[in-house]
C-alpha cells in the first residue's frame, strides 16, 4: 500500500540527530501549521523525514522532532490548537517511558507498546490517505462514465381494490339494526300518508263539500293527533286539493297568511 507516498507536504528532510536541521524543520512546520489536519497529520509529515518504512520508524526521534516544533511555536508565541498541546504532553510522557527504565511495580503499558501504537496509527492514517487517493482516481460517474441521458419514467398505475368480508357486511347490518335501540325491521312507513292515498280519499268525499270547510277537518281518523302523522296527512291532503282544484273539481281559499285553508266543491 505504501510504495507510492505522495510527498506533497514535505520537501527534503534533515538527517537524524541534527539539531540545526530539526529546528529548521520545526520552523518549516510553523509556516505550514494551518495546512495540517491535526497533530497526527503533522506527525505523519514529520515521519516522512526519516525516509524509512513507517514500520521501522524511530518513534523516539519523531517525538523529539514534534517537541522541538512545539517549543519553537511557543517561543514564537504562535497559538496552537489544544490537541497539538495534548499530543505534545503525551509524546513527552512517551519519550520518558522510552528513555527511562520502567520502575519496579509500574503498571500500564510499556514505552515500546505505546510507541508501537503510535506507529500503527501513523501507518493506518497513511494507508487511508492512499486508499482515498486510489478511490478518487477511479472512473467516476458523471466524469468518466455516464448514465442514460433520457431516462423514461416508469408510470405508476395505482389500482385500488376494495374489499369487505361477509363478517363486515353482517356487522354493518347488525350495527344499523341495533342503532336507535333497535328499530323494527319493517319499513317505517306508518307515519306517511301519500298524496295518492289522499287524492283517492278526497275524490270519494268531494260530494259532501258543498260549503266551505276547513281542510284540517278532512284529515282521516287517527291522523289528527300524532304530530308526525298529522303533518304527513295534511301535506298529502293539501297536495291532493291542489290537484283537484287544477282539475276543476274543488275551490280553495285562505283568509290570510296562516289562516285555515277552506275548500268546497266547485260548481255542482
Amino acid at each position: 500500500m505504501a510504495e507510492t507516498e505522495p510527498d506533497d507536504f514535505f520537501a527534503e528532510g534533515p538527517a537524524r540527530d541534527d539539531p540545526v536541521a530539526a529546528r529548521r524543520a520545526a520552523e518549516a512546520l510553523i509556516v505550514d501549521v494551518e495546512g495540517f489536519e491535526g497533530p497526527l497529520d503533522m506527525l505523519l509529515t514529520l515521519s516522512r523525514t526519516q525516509k524509512v518504512d513507517l514500520r521501522k520508524i524511530s518513534v523516539l526521534h519523531l517525538a523529539q522532532q514534534y517537541l522541538a516544533f512545539i517549543e519553537r511555536a511557543t517561543a514564537l508565541r504562535i497559538e496552537l490548537a489544544a490537541d497539538y498541546l495534548v499530543m505534545a504532553a503525551w509524546l513527552a510522557f512517551l519519550k520518558s517511558r522510552l528513555l527511562l527504565p520502567p520502575e519496579p511495580g509500574d503498571e500500564g503499558p510499556s514505552g515500546e507498546e505505546l510507541a508501537a501504537h503510535l506507529a500503527f496509527q501513523l501507518e493506518r492514517l497513511e494507508a487511508m490517505r492512499q486508499a482515498a487517493a486510489q478511490l478518487m482516481a477511479r472512473d467516476q460517474r458523471g466524469r468518466d462514465f455516464f448514465a442514460r441521458g433520457i431516462p423514461e419514467d416508469v408510470t405508476r398505475v395505482r389500482r385500488v381494490r376494495y374489499t369487505a368480508t361477509l363478517l363486515d357486511l353482517m356487522q354493518g347490518y347488525a350495527r344499523i339494526r341495533t342503532r336507535d335501540d333497535f328499530r323494527p325491521y319493517v319499513l317505517d312507513r306508518d307515519a306517511i300518508y301519500t298524496m295518492e292515498e289522499a287524492l283517492e280519499r278526497m275524490r270519494g268525499m268531494i260530494g259532501y263539500a258543498g260549503d266551505w270547510v276547513a281542510l284540517s277537518t278532512w284529515l282521516p281518523e287517527g291522523w289528527e293527533l300524532d304530530p308526525a302523522r298529522r303533518r304527513s296527512a295534511t301535506a298529502a291532503h293539501f297536495a291532493a286539493t291542489l290537484e283537484l282544484v287544477k282539475q276543476g273539481a274543488l275551490e280553495l281559499r285562505q283568509g290570510e297568511s296562516f289562516a285555515p285553508i277552506q275548500i268546497r266543491r266547485k260548481g255542482g
Binding site: 448514465a147 423514461e152 381494490r161 369487505a164
Partner: protein, 216 residues
Amino acid sequence: MPADDRTEREESLFEAPPLAEQERMVEAILFASAEPVRVAELNARMPHGCDAAEALALLRRRYQGRGVQVVKVGEAWVLRTAPDLGFLMQKETVETRKLSRAAIETLAIVAYHQPVTRAEIEEIRGVSVSRGTVDQLLELEWIRFGRRRMTPGRPVTYVVTETFLDHFGLESARDLPGLKELRAAGLLDSRPLPGAPSEDDEAGEDGQSDMFEDES
C-alpha cells in the same frame, strides 16, 4: 489503460479509429445525451476523421429487433425503448382498501332488503346516502339497478349482483344469515325492545323472500 486511451486519441488526430470503435462512440453518445443528437454534432464530438453517419447505420442495424431502437426524430437521432415493450414501463400497484362504513352499511341494506330504493336505504340507515357511496358499489359491480318501483316518481331500485355473491362466497342472497343467526352469533343485540314484536325476524325473512321472488 488511461495511457493507452490517450495514445489512441492522439493517434486518432491522424487516423480515424476503426469503424467498430466509431460505432461504440455513437452508441455511448446517444445513450448519454439528454436530447436527440444530429449527425453533425456526432461528427463534431467524435475524433477527427470519423464518419458518424456510417457508424450510425451500423448501430441501427445492430439494434434491429432489440429492446431498444435507434430512432430518428426530425434531423436528430435518439435511443428509445421498443414500442412493443411499453407495457414494461408501467408499474402497477394494487392497493387493497377496506370499504368505508357507509358503503358496507348501504351494501348490507341492499343485500338484505333488495330490491330497495335509495329513499328506503336512507330511511333504514337514518342518514342520507351520498351519491359517491352508491356509485362506488355500482362500480365495484356489487350492486346494480333493479326494476323501477311502481310508486310515484317510479324510483329505481338496487339489487346485489353475481359479483357480489362471488366475492362473499354466497350462492344466493338468501344465504345471508338472517336476524336470528346474527343474534346467535352475537352480532345483534339480543335484548328485544319492549313492545317490539320479535316476529320481525319472521317478517325479515319473509320480506326477503318476497323481494327475491321477482328476480328468480
